[in-house]
Amino acid sequence: MSKIICSAAIRGAHKITDMAEEKFEAALKKYGAEQAVSFPNTAYFLPVIYSMLGAKVEKLGDMKDIFQECRKLLPPMVSEHNWLPYLAPALDAGMATFFAEEMYEAVRYLEQPEYYTKTEDPTAGNIWLGAADDVIFRKRGVEFVDGTAPGFAAIMGSPADKEVASKIALELQEKNLYIFMHDHSNGVRMPEQLVNNNVQVGWNTRLVPFGDSYTTAVFAIGFACRVAMAFGGIKPGDYRGNLIYNKDRTFAFVMAFGPVSDEWYANAAGAINWGFPTISDYDIPEVLPTGICTYEHVVSKVPHEEIVQKAIEVRGLKVNVAKIDIPMSFGPAFEGERIRKDDLYMECGGGRTSGVEVLISKDMHDVVDGEVILEGKDICDISQGQNLPIAILVEVAGREMQSDFEPILERQFHHLINYIQGIMHIGQRNIMWVRIGKAAVEKGFSFKHIGKVLHGKLHQEFGAILDKVQVKIYTEQAKVEEVQELAKKVYAERDLRLGNMTDETEEVFYSCTLCQSFAPSHVCVITPERVGMCGAYNWLDGKASFQINPTGPNQPIAKGECSDPVLGDFVGINEFVNQASRGAVPAVSCYSLMTNPMTACGCFEAIAAMLPQCNGIMVVNRDYMGMTPSGMKFTSLAGMAGGGAQTPGFMGVSKHYLTSPKLFMAEGGLKRVVWLPKMLKEELKEKLMARCEAIGMPELFDMIADEEVGTTEEAVLAFLKEKGHPALKMETVM
């Protein structure tokens, strides 16, 4: 019964707080109260404390108050007889536990900066990654928003058998969940078990080793807190909003292996505040009544073969997984898996051999649904290291199929092929590259499986627009070249058609409220010349998505009368946004940063910000971790632009939008851009230079400063003056 659990949790919370406070006191003596403390590269300070209490722990001295708060929360032990209600005190104790653990870990970052790898994958000498920084968090957060990852399993300890551990990890991956791993059971560590069993561990495979002590469970909780703040627009300090948000939307749970210590109970009690239940394989008491969590709170003695199924059921999650009949595992969790040199069996394309992939639509009677033809050698016909050319030609037919949808369907190849465990796909079109891992070959991989995957998944996801799919795979040079010729023609036609499409030529724009599961008041407006800020949705995607699911997140918006062509004000757009945001956003100017800028959920590729002194605009991408001339890093800027609120001067944008003719039209367009990180500038170089050419200023590209010029407005301004940047002569917009 839960008295045992609550008693243990309260005991554990006292122990953890004592331990953390002791560490803090020692650090305080050593470093002084003014010493800065933080988790690596995050704008959310210590995120649990920040989100629950609204308190920013920036200096060691700031912890004093938080420890006092912990002491206030810590209840007395539960008495043997005539006890007082213990559930609420145990939940409070769990909360104190997280506060204490977060400070404990922050001191650890201070004292041992190299304790965790701070990378996306384990390093040779260290398997523990530590807390997710904001770059990882934002990248992964998108998956939480669009549903490719419904939640996470916070794992404590590990099953003793590495095969069992791997199987559970695989099952969780197949449910598309993230797997956060912490601590050990009798010295057995889950990520080590996985690595020993040749399972790839790291953010890319969603198997994330957070840390080797139970205190790192707070990294998982901190992740959840940040999801609510970054994407849900929950304000720091709005603890109830944050907790309910996570209860309702982040399908996370604790999975504990082996004996449960007081400290684990304390963490489990804390997690219940977020609606995250605990599922254990061990003989501990259960807490079945519902209320704080959606369903049960603690379920125990679950056999390993049932534990994943049980966990998602207890959490109230439904994962729609269509079974694809191939011998390898399949799902989004394997998308990021890499095939390293040592794991490689063979490869196709990518400059090693010829490679091409293309999708075309045909008449119904020309397509035999489900047919997968392989011409040329299959894997079983070659030996390791023998590479082959490849052409993947997919022919589809359907009553609702339009040629506009071809590139959308073709773009799916990349992630769909990557979803196969043991296969890696890079690039697209005629620069595609497929690497086949030894593990996949051992399981019996055949090129035909790629065909099966494409057939099955295209049907599943695009059944509303296509009726038939056939796949032809060629591994013979002559055939491959034939397809390459065909593809070239198709690409040229497509590019021409897309290039002619502008905001003026189309009467209908598309909304995107895919993120409303996380950011309830945010609405994206996608126009032909403005891609969604996540970079993942363009106008054609919106169109296809609407076709597939007429009541789905992408709705057509009749743009209506254009009341201001420079600002990009459309009567129809404003009406729609006002209604879809439930009045939170009455108007959006499609081409302006300063007037009614578009809101953002938080999963933008880049952020544009006005630099008043330079009279220009800077844009910083998510991967750039350094300082920017705005005085803020990306992570801090993200706080200004995200959460569904309009903040003139700050806006989330896609990288692609930088090359659009409609870029910041209200502020003067590309000529207003004064600073970009070098990496972004390089990435977009070709297209940006073409745009500079098009506006009659080919020299503009070199006038745009980067971090090498400087990361202060003064330094950038000096550079702009020296180069004679056009922004300086433009009228001020502030």
Partner: protein, 665 residues
């Protein structure tokens, strides 16, 4: 005089062990208790009085009315319907008046506290702010005493208000309920005014239509529940602290052989709180030591006991029915009384011992007692004077008997705020788990057992009812002497979860709570109104109190206050069942109260003598409500996919499962 000490003919058997143990001792042999008087009186209760058909409202009578016998209507022509209804209304008026006068004292004490004129302080600032919001008092930049003063004055105005607007607290009720009251025209206006209006309308020759009379009866009772009682509870909480869970003990065994035993009896906590402060006074403690006592032991009797039990964990020695037994121990130096439910026999019983019965309120004096007026302006001084008298009595203590084994652990302090906190902690406090587990059937429903003790029925009736309810997974909320009685039999401690049905037991074990929650004194029944409202607000159980799987009872009621309480619950939408009510003398009125009211209020009265059957009727009502809500069947677990999750923000139809989307700000 040979007195049977196991009850008597005409009254009922005593089952309470401590009562039996005390009465069996020689020192108690001269004590005549209510049990004895029932026998000595030698006649059963008047049938006209018992059924409500005795009219003595004018000097043409008194008239005894017999329903259905044309010759036996009143001299004025008043029918049984009219007479029973008038009498019932007057009972409500009297009960409400008692709560109201009590509440007025508390509000005045609150104002005095805000002005710094008492030894007390504004303790619960959160609740103060909550009330400021309700009363529309601006708080910014004001100190707590200034805010309290404003609230206090507005609260006091609610008593004497002459405009036709509803009393302030009424707006705390569920929206739908407020609309119903408005439609019926029974929103209470001035709290005092409604009592006066009843007295007027029941005067000879005024309101002679029983349905119309009961509209005023309902209005007066609502003025009590949502007006005076609620004001009293809330302002008392602000002054003396909102109850939080505490351990304590109950029954006569809480008296201490080596200390000065002072029992406080009555209803108003102002005096008791002052006594609590004074009992820690060094000077008095020194005096106690000087007379050979190890200390001063305060213990409660009746609802004053419940007040200081809830807020300070001070033990309760006895409920109403045991007030004479407490004196019969010979171990009490002084019984300090204020108002309500104090038997005149106390002074007589005290004569056999060294005990002083000290009256303290000018409203309530009695022959044979010592009167020391409790002076609010010098509360501590008054308290010290009283205690000094008690301490000085210690030396005079003769032979005594304390049934030391007769005491039981209790956990008390289940205010609305405690319930809200205990179900989710500081960060997730809400009634969600309660509603959820009612919806999923672990908890069948909620029952209130409130009210007094009585000699008409066996003293174990509370226990029988409570055991049957919890066995059937009904969570019990108890107040007043009913709560004390349930404490005496061990149902108010967490270990009692073992007596609950499997579902309720599981929830009790999860939360760590007893299956019977002690919610305070009889005036604190207003806490139950708030709890019921909160259940409605939390969602999933309908949109009004009348849709909740809820039932209330005051089985062993004796005070008119219980009828006022019952009526404000009925008018708020609850099913209320008593063991007897003086309304059976009119078939029409009886039918109206037990059926007609259900149609108007979605709540009604019911009568059942047999305690077990009474409990089962409560369960049947709860089951009916479950059925109406559609939660009587087992329901499939709802699993969420991404699409459903997206719909959360847009008002999903899936309102009755665990997920409810973000709480609106």
């Amino acid at each position: 005089m040979a007195i049977s000490r196991n009850g008597c003919e005409g009254c009922t058997e005593i089952t309470c062990t401590s009562t039996k143990n005390v009465l069996a001792k020689d020192i108690a042999k001269n004590v005549i208790t209510a049990y004895d008087r029932v026998k000595m009186r030698g006649m059963s209760a008047c049938l006209f009085g018992s059924t409500g058909t005795c009219c003595r409202n004018c000097n043409m009578g008194p008239c005894q009315i017999i329903d259905g016998v044309d010759e036996m209507i009143g001299v004025c022509g008043a029918t049984a319907d009219t007479v029973v209804a008038r009498n019932f209304c007057r009972t409500i008026a009297s009960g409400s008046a008692a709560h109201t006068d009590h509440a007025r004292e508390m509000v005045k004490g609150f104002i005095a506290t805000a002005k710094g004129e008492t030894p007390h302080e504004i303790k619960d600032v959160n609740k103060l702010m909550m009330l400021a919001n309700i009363f529309g008092v601006a708080t910014e930049g004001k100190d707590k005493n200034a805010i309290a003063l404003e609230i206090g004055e507005l609260a006091l105005a609610d008593f004497g208000k002459q405009d036709d607007k509803p009393v302030t607290m009424l707006k705390r009720a569920p929206k739908k309920r407020q609309e119903l009251w408005k439609r019926l025209g029974i929103e209470p206006r001035g709290i005092d005014r409604e009592v006066v209006e009843i007295m007027h309308r029941t005067h000879m020759g005024v309101d002679q239509e029983y349905q119309n009379l009961m509209l005023q009866g309902a209005r007066c009772a609502l003025g009590d529940g949502w007006g005076s009682s609620m004001l009293s509870t809330e302002l008392t909480d602000i002054m003396f602290g909102t109850p939080v869970p505490r351990r304590s003990i109950v029954d006569l065994g809480v008296l201490k052989p080596d200390q000065v035993n002072v029992t406080v009896h009555g209803h108003e906590p102002l005096l008791a709180e002052a006594l609590c402060l004074a009992a820690q006074d060094e000077e008095l403690l020194a005096l106690a030591r000087k007379v050979g006592a190890k200390g001063i032991n305060l213990a409660g009797v009746c609802c004053t006991g419940n007040e200081i039990l809830m807020r300070r964990g001070i033990p309760v020695a006895a409920g109403f029915i045991q007030q004479e037994m407490a004196l019969a121990t010979g171990a009490i130096e002084a019984m300090v009384v204020d108002v309500q439910c104090i038997m005149q026999s106390l002074a007589e019983v005290a004569k056999s011992f060294h005990t002083d019965v000290i009256t303290t309120n000018y409203r309530a004096k009695m022959p044979g007692a010592v009167h020391i007026q409790f002076n609010e302006e010098d509360a501590l001084g008054s308290a010290k004077e009283i205690l000094k008298k008690a301490v000085n009595n210690f030396k005079k203590r003769g032979e005594f008997f304390i049934p030391q084994d007769n005491k039981l652990d209790v956990v008390v302090g289940f205010s609305h705020e405690t319930i809200n906190y205990m179900l989710g902690g500081r960060f997730r406090s809400s009634y969600r788990p309660l509603n959820d587990n009612i919806i999923n059937g672990r908890i069948r429903g909620v029952a209130a057992i409130v009210g007094c003790d009585n000699y008409k029925f066996p003293d174990n009736n509370h226990e029988i009812i409570a055991r049957e309810l919890i066995k059937n997974d009904v969570l019990v909320l108890a107040t007043g002497c009913a709560a004390t009685g349930l404490g005496r039999v061990g149902l108010v401690r967490p270990e009692a979860a073992q007596f609950a049905g499997p579902g309720l037991r599981e929830v009790c074990e999860t939360v760590g709570m007893p299956p019977v929650l002690h919610c305070g004194s009889c005036v604190d029944n207003s806490r139950l109104l708030i709890a019921a409202t909160e259940m409605v607000r939390e969602g999933g159980l309908g949109d009004d109190i009348s849709s909740l799987p809820l039932a209330g009872t005051a089985p062993l009621w004796m005070s008119e206050k219980a009828v006022a309480i019952g009526q404000y619950f009925v008018s708020s939408g609850a099913y209320v069942i008593f063991q007897s009510l003086p309304l059976t003398g009119s078939k029409n009125f009886h039918k109206f109260m037990t059926e007609g009211m259900d149609e108007i209020y979605g709540g009604c009265w019911d009568i059942e003598e047999d305690p077990l059957k009474l409990a089962r009727k409560m369960i049947a009502r709860i089951d009916l409500k479950r059925k109406e809500l559609g939660i009587d069947k087992k329901r499939e677990r709802v699993l969420f996919d991404m699409e459903m999750r997206r719909d959360l923000g847009a008002g999903s139809p899936l309102k009755d499962v665990g997920c409810h989307g973000p709480t609106p700000a």
